[in-house]
């Protein structure tokens, strides 16, 4: 008797568990926010911004341990023009978009490249920067100069980044088999490149310069740029008001020279027109 009871309990528990699981299969549909988000943000006086914080000079923690860099400066400038203050949260890149969707923050500014794949999930402002991506290898390395040389090698890349998707979906089928190792931030991937645990990585030079200068890594960029990426501010879908307001802020920034000043401040050059 006891035994039968036990079986019943087990079956019930499993059934409940199964229900919970199957409920997760459907796409949650919480896209329709009651009041529009722009108004909510203005009312709160704060715009919550997600960023990596481990990707100088775009986004990093400065000596005062505050979020700093080109991206946060752009975000602060947007916030200022919306009449609110920006409040930053740092997180691994791969978690940023899911957190955005879980409404942990209002926008993500962390060199998020605008891709069609991502547009299905989230929305973007107009691009605020274009980056050339190059192949990066150890200074001692002489046998990798182009994508075709990746065959049979180990290539490091940031987890969940557009570069990872690019390697997986475009380079792998074209070049032939190579191993992809994923990292949670740029610094560790460069450290492994310096240590010789990976043969190459792909990234852009702006991003590398400060890290290399700081750590004395023996690495170099080779060959021609393999692609150029446009990054935008990411926000949840169906927020036309917020998107348009941010686009206007970006356009004004570019028109009145603020953008150029910021660009000069972080990259010591004028933006390519």
């Amino acid at each position: 008797m006891i035994k039968r009871k036990f079986t019943m309990v087990t079956i019930t528990a499993l059934a409940v568990f199964g229900l919970v699981l199957s409920a997760c299969g459907g796409k949650s549909d919480s896209g329709t926010t009651a009041a529009n988000e722009l108004e909510q943000i203005k009312k709160a006086g704060v715009i919550k911004v997600g960023t990596m914080g481990t990707y100088p000079p775009y986004t990093f923690l400065n000596d005062k341990k505050e979020v700093d860099g080109f991206d946060p400066d752009i975000a602060k400038e947007i916030a200022k023009r919306l009449g609110v203050t920006a409040e930053f949260t740092t997180q691994d890149f791969s978690g940023l978009i899911p957190s955005l969707q879980a409404e942990k923050f209002d926008i993500v500014i962390s060199q998020v490249t605008i891709t069609d794949e991502r547009k299905k999930q989230i929305d973007f402002t107009d691009s605020y920067i274009t980056n050339n991506v190059k192949i990066i290898v150890n200074t001692k390395n002489t046998d990798i100069t182009k994508l075709e040389d990746f065959k049979g090698k180990t290539i490091g890349v940031g987890l969940g980044t557009n570069d990872e998707t690019y390697l997986r979906t475009e380079v792998l089928p074209k070049v032939g088999d190579f191993t992809i190792k994923t990292y949670d931030d740029v610094i560790t991937s460069l450290k492994d490149l310096d240590a010789g645990r990976i043969d190459a990585t792909i990234n852009n030079l702006y991003a590398l310069k400060p890290i290399v200068d700081e750590n004395g890594f023996q690495i170099k960029a080779v060959g021609e740029p393999i692609k150029s990426d446009m990054a935008g501010v990411a926000l949840r879908k169906d927020n036309a008001e917020l998107r348009d307001a941010m686009n206007k802020a970006l356009a004004d920034m570019k028109a009145d020279g603020t953008y150029d000043t910021l660009f000069q401040k972080w990259f010591n050059e004028t933006p390519a027109k």
């Binding site: 919970v20 699981l21 199957s22 997760c24 299969g25 791969s94 978009i97 899911p98 969707q101 879980a102 991502r118 999930q121 989230i122 490091g156 987890l159 969940g160 990872e164 998707t165 997986r168 190792k181 994923t182 990292y183 949670d184 560790t188 450290k191 492994d192 310096d194 240590a195 010789g196 645990r197």
Partner: protein, 214 residues
Amino acid sequence: MQLVFDNLPFLLKGAGYTLLLTIVSMLFGLIIGLVVAIARLKGNPPIRWIARFYVSIIRGTPLLVQIVIIYYGLVDYGVTLGSLTAAYIALSINAGAYLSETFRGAILSVPKGQLEAAYSTGMTPWQAMRRIVLPQAMRIAIPPMGNTFIGMLKETSLVSVITVSELLRQAQLLIAQYYQYMPFYLGIGVMYWIMSTGLAFILERFERRLAKAY
């Protein structure tokens, strides 16, 4: 949920690594644990002190910190380990410290009379340890050992930070592809649960077999 089933082979590959990491690190952890436990009980003062120091450091710092130090930190001193090797080492050293305490307690719990009886039959201390004390201590150590075992299975998820593509990392890779959190995390949650239940079952069988000898 369909997503999880479509990507099951990919996840199973990760689960394989998780099991491999658990088994290898437990194996070496057992050896380290036994040596350290005996060192603490029978060693001369400096050896005892070293063993205590080791246990204290390992139990007093997060495993994540140990993993990162072994993988990224040692590079600065000219030691470059592969990610799997580093994971094995970090997990074994960690398991060893916890298991040494388990064994020490188990050895101490064997009545002193047993040892005296062994000596009186003319056994050397080493023989007495091997033939009389350890077999009895083993039985006592199984339940807490199982605890460490199952703990270790879940702790392996931490080595995802050093690019080992175990179960958690594989799930993260899929999440990065589909931007869908819940199904994958629930999926691997279930997989971890199945694995730890399986381990617990094996340990139970083992315990019963050992009990039969008496």
